[in-house]
Amino acid sequence: MKVVTGVVGNDIHVVANRLIDISLQARGFEVFNLGVNTHLEEFIDAAVESDADIILISSLNGEAEGWCRDLQFLRAEYALKNVVFVIGGNLSVGEAKDEDIVPKYESYGFDLVFHQVDLNTGLDKLEEFLGKRS
């Protein structure tokens, strides 16, 4: 399966990005890594050009909340119905509870939301989700 990944917004956490890339490859995914400082439109555009199955966005500085609000609009623009949208990392600025954060990102249009969840646990859950869906 093809995965487009990268760090959204003004966020330069390159080590986390690299670890996600390596972990995805180790699990057999074909990875298109857009790197750090990536705009939301670029994730969508990369998925269109590569016909990707999954968009996995990471955010470490909590800025994703502002950068991902237009996701529903962009999803509709290209009719990306079958693409799985995943976001993970530190998804809020300051303290925030899972029960507040997760519904918020789901309302943006994400299928899976991992706030302060260990990388491998998150990827296990992604594979579980893909398994159930197929």
């Binding site: 298109f32 857009l34 705009h39 439109e41 670029e42 969508i44 555009d45 990369a46 269109v48 050009e49 590569s50 016909d51 623009e77 290209y78």
Partner: protein
């Protein structure tokens, strides 16, 4: 062996011989050949055909329409490659909006269709063919996913299929399209009847002038007091070209060439003077700029030397605006990083260093909000052009050996 270098511009000729560099305005009532030989016949006759090297920018430039899948990849990459190959972009179409997109009425020199990495298929359908039926174009080239190449070739007459410009890792691969477009541009220039005639004077290939300037750039910082990253602004009679180091571009595209080029077809000070004035009047800072230069807008209607100087200063300001963050329609350069601005072309024979410096100061203060400006160099003796012509000739000899 000494060489004679000739540049045929849209407004004037210049030649570089053993006696130095000379330039003269063109007489548009004559053909290029007659005009050139009447003005420089004595000099030309001193050289044999093997020693004469000609480049031309007269009437150059191609129009294109790019049809692509996304703004961030296919359209962005194709636009970048086209700009660097002498193309004047007229329009782009996002494929999923093709039903609602306007159809350009003028004849297009080339249509570029692009989208998808090689493993992706089934991107295009009847919508593309219906749109193309309404278009009028001379050439069409496909540089997208190779999986769709056969299907498109069957349905589009005279389609040229080249290597995909998007790699399997979503990076840009420019060589094949760049070579194709550069050759089209070259054919466009040398194919013009007027230029073909010039082969009576030379046995060497006639090149396009922007190509020559671009070839000189890797050597400019070694030969001049120029610090990298720099830009070269070539303000001519019909067009204004800006050549820039890729370090200044925020586009973050990987390619072999270190220097890119943008051409503004309507910012020349003679043949496209009217469109330059139009562009100036539509710029929000222009009245403040005219005030800064101690003139009123009436100067734009005048034809004396003072008016020409102001027009040239305006064109410097406008071209910097067009590549700054102030204007997102073109490629944005990080002008805060810029260390040197080199000006070449006819402008260096008219404007003084102080006049150029004052306009650059105005631009940096007004648009970039800083008083620190890059160093400025006027290429008054057309060294960049002669450097480029000699670099091409050296490369040719190297290839022969």
């Amino acid at each position: 062996m000494s060489k004679l270098l000739i540049d045929v511009g849209s407004t004037y000729f210049k030649i570089s011989s053993d006696d130095g560099v000379e330039q003269q305005f063109r007489d548009f009532s004559k053909t290029i050949f007659d005009d050139l030989t009447s003005k420089f016949g004595d000099t030309i006759n001193k050289y044999n055909k093997e020693s004469v090297h000609i480049c031309s920018s007269a009437n150059g430039g191609l129009s294109t329409l790019i049809i692509g899948l996304t703004n961030s990849f296919s359209l962005k990459y194709a636009k970048n490659i086209a700009f660097n190959s002498g193309i004047n972009i007229i329009d782009t179409v996002l494929y999923h909006h093709i039903d609602k997109s306007a159809v350009p009425g003028d004849l297009l020199d080339v249509v570029i269709v692009v989208g998808g990495i090689d493993s992706v298929g089934g991107i295009y359908d009847d919508k593309l063919f219906k749109y193309l039926e309404k278009l009028s174009y001379s050439n069409i080239v496909y540089v997208g996913s190779q999986k769709d190449a056969q299907y498109l070739s069957k349905n589009i007459e005279s389609l040229v299929v080249l290597e995909n410009i998007i790699t399997d890792k979503l990076k840009m691969k420019e060589e094949a399209l760049k070579e194709y477009l550069t050759n089209l541009y070259q054919q466009d220039i040398v194919g013009k009847e007027d230029i073909k005639h010039l082969y009576e004077l030379t046995s060497n290939q006639i090149y396009s002038t922007p190509y020559i300037v671009n070839q000189s750039l890797p050597y400019v910082d070694a030969r001049h007091e120029v610090i990298n990253p720099f830009i070269v602004v070539d303000i001519g009679g019909a067009t204004t070209d800006i050549h820039y180091s890729r370090d200044l571009s925020r586009e973050n595209m990987l390619s072999e060439s270190e220097y890119d080029r943008l051409v503004f077809k309507k910012l020349g000070v003679y043949k496209s003077k009217e469109s330059l004035i139009f562009a100036a009047k539509n710029n929000e800072f222009v009245y403040e700029l005219l005030n800064y230069l101690n003139v009123t807008e009436n100067i734009l209607e005048q034809t004396d030397e003072k008016a020409l100087r102001v027009l040239m200063q305006l064109s410097i300001f406008l071209v910097l605006c067009k590549v700054s963050t102030h204007n997102s329609m073109y490629i944005t350069l990080n002008l805060h990083l810029l260390k040197s601005i080199v000006l070449t072309g006819g402008i260096t024979k008219v404007l003084s260093f102080e006049e150029v410096e004052s306009i650059v100061q105005f631009f940096y203060k007004k648009i970039l909000h800083t008083t620190a400006i890059p160093t400025i160099l006027l290429d008054s003796n057309y060294d960049i052009w002669t450097l480029g012509m000699n670099a091409i000739e050296d490369k040719r000899i190297e290839n022969v050996n």
